[in-house]
């Protein structure tokens, strides 16, 4: 193929086989979800991510578009997660003075949140008679997906199941985080953010960023530290058992 035809191909290629529909539908669904959430004055149950997932899924059901087709098309949006996570360094850097003054809070949060996150899930699943493979897949559920998959494989869980559980945990934490903070009468954005990051990784962090920048910075920090420490500790503990 000549350079010229390659160039015309690049410029004039039909949009039909490009992921315009999937990407556009995702953006529109999230826009609608954000409006809906605002209409409900930001009620935690009206989480934009959750609403957008429901809207897109309903759309796929209605139009009979297979999930695989959608996921392939929406890969452009999924890809943006990488650069976005890197950018979490910015709120963290802006709030570095507050972070430095809160070392004790961060250590306590991790010392409690990391084990409780694992043991509560493992304990409940075990009591209700889940299979050991399911329990092992559940163990890293609070950790960001990229790390959780590696841990799951190491300790004998099922990677696909872990990804599903990680995302469910993220959405649960994003919805319940502000509700539980209100119930427990906790207003310190450092505590709420850190906890949401530890319990529900990036999806919780996306929600914490909506509270304010301090909550977002602490959430990103909680997510990162919890991920790194769980990756080191969980396989070690599983090896000892």
């Amino acid at each position: 193929m000549s350079t010229f035809s390659q160039l015309t191909n690049l410029t004039w290629a039909s949009l039909a086989d490009k992921p315009v529909l999937e990407t556009g539908a995702t953006v529109l669904a999230f826009l609608a979800a954000t409006r809906l959430s605002r209409l409900g004055s930001g009620h935690p149950l009206l989480n934009p991510t959750l609403l957008a997932i429901i809207l897109v899924s309903l759309g796929l059901e209605a139009t009979n578009i297979p999930y695989e087709t959608y996921l392939r098309g929406a890969d452009a949006i999924h890809f943006m997660l990488g650069p976005a996570v890197v950018l979490l360094a910015v709120p963290l850097f802006r709030q570095r003075a507050v972070v430095r003054a809160s070392l004790r809070l961060i250590v306590v949060g991790l010392a409690v949140g990391l084990p409780v996150g694992i043991l509560s899930a493992v304990g409940i699943a075990w009591m209700l008679g889940a299979s050991s493979r399911t329990i092992l897949s559940l163990a890293p559920k609070s950790v960001t997906a990229g790390i959780a998959v590696g841990i799951s494989e190491q300790i004998g869980g099922l990677q696909t199941l872990t990804v599903v559980l990680v995302i469910m945990t993220g959405i649960t934490g994003a919805v319940l985080g502000p509700i539980i903070a209100r119930l427990a009468r906790i207003e310190d954005p450092r505590v709420v953010g850190l906890t949401m990051g530890i319990a529900s990784h990036g999806i919780g962090t996306a929600r914490a960023l909506q509270i304010n920048e301090i909550a977002g910075a602490f959430s990103g920090l909680g997510m990162s530290l919890n991920g790194v420490l769980t990756a080191i500790l969980l396989p070690l503990v599983c090896g000892l058992l």
């Binding site: 997660l81 650069p83 910015v90 809070l105 209700l128 559920k141 945990t169 319940l176 906890t195």
Partner: protein, 132 residues
């Protein structure tokens, strides 16, 4: 702005190389986050348009999880047989983690800071009293 996009992509790429070579057992974006933070810490200054870029992108961070979330619905039947223990563990476990961590971290983690604030208030009050 382009410079900042390049900066983010470069750190993400370095992260990808470090992750794939097995140098660090972490996903590329987390390594990229650490590297960008390290760069900012060394520079001691946040470029204004990097701040603007982060604010823009992080505002719709929640949207970037939508494709993965839709994927979860497609996979829901993989745990048909264990739906109850799984749902209870995810929802109950996450609620318990949030509650316990928030309460304990709030009590123990911020106690010192609060005592310091009270101490500062007391000293300030004493100074005020003296001045009066």
């Amino acid at each position: 702005m382009l410079e900042q996009i390049a900066r983010v992509m470069v750190w993400l790429c370095v992260g990808e190389i470090a992750a794939r070579s097995g140098l660090l057992p972490l996903p590329a974006p987390v390594i990229g986050l650490i590297l960008l933070y390290a760069e900012l810490a060394v520079r001691r200054k946040l470029p204004a348009d990097l701040g603007a870029l982060a604010d823009r992108v992080l505002q719709f961070l929640g949207m970037l999880f939508v494709p993965a979330g839709v994927g979860v619905i497609a996979y829901l039947d993989i745990f048909k047989t264990e739906a109850l223990p799984i749902l209870a563990a995810v929802i109950g476990g996450t609620a318990m983690t949030l509650f316990v961590t928030m309460v304990v971290a709030n009590r123990l983690g911020t106690a010192v800071a609060r005592r310091e604030v009270r101490e500062a208030d007391r000293i300030e009050g004493a100074i005020r009293d003296v001045n009066l």
